[in-house]
Amino acid sequence: MVRYIFKLIRVMHSDTDPRQIALGFALGMIMGLTPLTSLHNILVIMAILILRTNISAAIISWAFFSLCAVILDPLFHQIGLAILVKVNMLEGVWTALYNAPLIPYTRFNNSIVMGSLIFSLVIFYPVYRGGAFLVIEYRDIFMERFNQWKVVHIIKASNLYKLYSRYSELKG
């Protein structure tokens, strides 16, 4: 995980497109908030690997939102149950999906899978846009200040960082 944090810092300080970082972060969020073993996460992983997203951002985002999911599960359950049970007009859709081939394996009828997926899809675009905006803002305003922080100097002077930098250089 430390490796990915360093990688993300490097990417933030590089010329990488902020949208790639933001997209990685947003896709990682879906993986983090929804149960990992759900079938839709294969599509998310495929998107992270195939699209030019930042994988470090996706992994850090996944780790961060997995922790959030532990707290948010009861909320997801309520959302999912409401969508699956209380929205009458959707009952036909769910029944059709329930009887369709392969779809039942997605576990869409599980309250937490449904609730967390809906929640993460709703906040996907704001997270993506907000992430891109924050990367740009960071680079414009904070990057110089950040480099001047004593903590950063200490980290950069540390053997661990030197070792990592050397490893990264050797790896190319």
Partner: protein, 618 residues
């Protein structure tokens, strides 16, 4: 910016390939663990699979050495099977539906011993308690008397210990009603004596009557000086006479009242009354000894009814489990399952299956048992058993056919010549309509001396039993009947029922009828038997014989104690009667004498004038 990262695509394919390869290599283990876990959660005890082989290409599953633990007895397997072959339908699997086209189960054995405990591990137990919908509790617990499987013999052997005790010991500290009555009676006599003493003091006394007599005599001797004093003289005599007359009347009335009191006292002390009280005392003492006498129904229940009732209860509990898995009508398609949500698990909402296959369907299963399983004391071993099961499904309305099973076989070692078990479970519509018939011919019971004859009060040591049982379930209500015909019975009598040994010496053939009713949640069973009539008179004789000596001794002791007290009461009564009657009689006699003397006197003025020689005024 190039959108596609081809390296990423290759990585993705490699990752998916690796996952698929892992699943293929470990698919058998994954399915095995999953089946064991799910099975254990359903049964409530461990379900173990020895070996599992799944062929993905022809969807063929082979399971070896399946053991399903009996939840009530963790060291026993309720069912054990050597081999199970399952052919799954491919198309329904795409819709996440498990349809078993045919299943063959071989080498089934029931009630086999386990090497290790099959109790549910604590972790699974916690999950089961959290996830499983709580089983519906019976509306009200069946009363103990209605629970045939809990019938027992009262401890009649206690009579022998009681008989060894002396009546003094048995009656020590016992308050006899007759004694209490006599003690109260003596107090009542004392109180009566006291009240009569007071009353006698208020009545004309011997002294006052003597004074009247003296006054009368003085008047007789006295002469009026002249005629003018005559009316006054006569008036004095009259007043005196009236006073004595009223005294006599008061004394007579008192005498009558006393006789009334005495007859009331004597009536309460009548022999009939005392005998009645003594009889009540005897009953109370016998009741206090708490000698429990078993009924003939109790004896039959302990002999055969209890075992059958337990087996019926076990069968009903398994039926309840099965019933929960195949709900009647569309009831199983509730949009929301009201249950506790385990953390990070959520709730699987079931939607109606509109077409195609049910979520689970076992179209046809054929099974057979193995014959080399040694019979356990509580177990059943079959020399041959085979049968079919069709249409077992979680959504019977969707399958459109009732579940049907048909089993036939025989018990090992000639234990039963023929066994037939048939049933239909029609859960297509609500309420469910199920019927079962079980017929077992010539169950041979041959118990050895080493069996639990010491712990069991009564058990059939040897008999040939034929059983016919029929059960119908309509919705939640049950209606059924089990008939046992017991031929050539020999009954082993344990120490607890030793007193009834003679009763079962020459027991002839008999029938036992168990009728089953009530609801699935609260079934009730009632027993009747031709043996109860046979046992009844013999039982009465035994009870009478055992209790007669004891009852007689207690009766004699009560009589001795009470009769002494009664003598004392009688003597007190006589003494009172003599004393009060004597006093009243003495006073009455005196009053009578005064009046007699007074009546001898002339009361007309002319007679007095003549007798006294008084000078006439004219």
């Amino acid at each position: 910016m190039k959108m596609i990262r081809w390296g990423g695509l290759i990585t993705f394919i490699v990752i998916i390939g690796l996952i698929a390869a892992f699943d293929l290599f470990f698919l058998d283990t994954i399915i095995e663990r999953s089946l064991e876990r799910q099975g254990s959660l359903i049964v409530g005890a461990r379900v173990d699979i020895g070996e599992l082989d799944f062929s993905l290409f022809d969807l063929h599953l082979a399971i070896k050495d399946l053991q399903v633990t009996d939840p009530e007895h963790p060291m026993l397997n309720a069912v054990e099977s050597g081999e199970i072959f399952i052919n799954l339908a491919a198309a329904p699997l795409l819709k996440k539906k498990i349809v078993i086209e045919n299943m063959t189960v071989r080498n089934i054995a029931l009630n086999t011993p386990r090497k290790t405990s099959g109790a549910l591990p604590p972790r699974l137990n916690r999950i089961r308690n959290k996830v499983a919908a709580p089983e519906k509790e019976p509306d009200a617990p069946a009363s103990a008397t209605n629970r045939l499987e809990e019938c027992s013999l009262p401890d009649f052997s206690a009579v022998a210990d009681i008989r060894n005790r002396s009546p003094e010991d048995i009656l020590s500290g016992v308050k006899l009603k007759s004694s209490e009555f006599l003690s109260e009676y003596v107090n009542k006599v004392s109180a009566t004596r006291q009240s009569w003493k007071t009353r006698l003091e208020a009545l004309p006394t011997k002294e006052s009557l003597n004074a009247d007599l003296k006054s009368l005599k003085e008047l007789i001797n006295e002469k009026p000086k002249n005629v003018t004093e005559l009316p006054g003289y006569l008036e004095k005599i009259k007043v005196l006479k009236n006073r004595v007359q009223s005294s006599k009347q008061a004394l007579t009335a008192a005498g009558k009242d006393f006789q009334s009191d005495m007859s009331s006292l004597r009536e309460s002390l009548s022999s009939a009354n005392i005998e009645k009280l003594k009889s009540q005392d005897l009953s109370a003492v016998m009741k206090k000894l708490d000698i429990k006498i078993p009924s003939s129904e109790d004896l039959v229940c302990v002999l055969v009814g209890k075992d059958i009732a337990r087996k019926i209860t076990t069968a009903l509990s398994w039926y309840r489990k099965l019933n929960g898995l195949m709900p009647a009508g569309k009831g199983g398609d509730a949009a929301e399952k009201p249950r506790q949500v385990p953390r990070m698990k959520g709730v699987d909402v079931a939607f109606p299956v509109t077409h195609g296959y049910p979520d689970f369907l076992l179209e046809k299963a054929a099974f057979s048992t193995r014959s080399d399983v040694p019979s356990l004391p509580e177990g059943v071993a079959f020399s041959k058993l085979s049968g079919t099961f069709e249409g077992l499904t979680t959504q019977p309305y969707l399958y459109g056919k009732p579940a049907v099973f048909n089993i036939s076989g025989a018990l090992a070692g000639g234990g039963a010549r023929e066994l037939l078990f048939k049933g239909t479970m029609d859960h297509r519509t609500e309420p469910a309509d199920d019927s079962f018939t079980l017929s077992v011919k010539e169950i041979k019971i041959r118990r050895t001396e080493t069996d639990d004859s010491e712990t069991a009060p009564l058990q059939i040591a040897s008999a040939d039993i034929t059983m016919n049982s029929g059960l119908k379930m309509h919705g939640g209500s049950i209606e059924g009947r089990t008939v046992l015909t017991v031929l050539n019975p020999e009954v082993a009598v344990g120490s607890k029922a030793a007193a009834f040994k003679d009763l079962f010496k020459n027991t002839g053939p008999f029938d036992v009828f168990i009728s089953i009713g009530g609801t699935l949640e609260q079934p009730s069973m009632a027993l009747s038997s031709s043996l109860t009539k046979t046992l009844k008179s013999g039982l009465e004789n035994i009870v009478r014989e055992k209790l007669s000596g004891l009852e007689k001794n207690i009766k004699t002791y009560i009589a001795t104690r009470v009769d002494a007290e009664r003598e004392k009461a009688d003597s007190e009564t006589n003494s009172l009667e003599k004393s009060i009657n004597g006093t009243i009689a003495e006073r009455l006699e005196l009053a009578g004498r005064i009046l007699k003397e007074a009546s001898g006197q002339d009361t007309s003025p002319t007679d007095v004038l003549k007798k006294k020689g008084l000078p006439l005024p004219f």
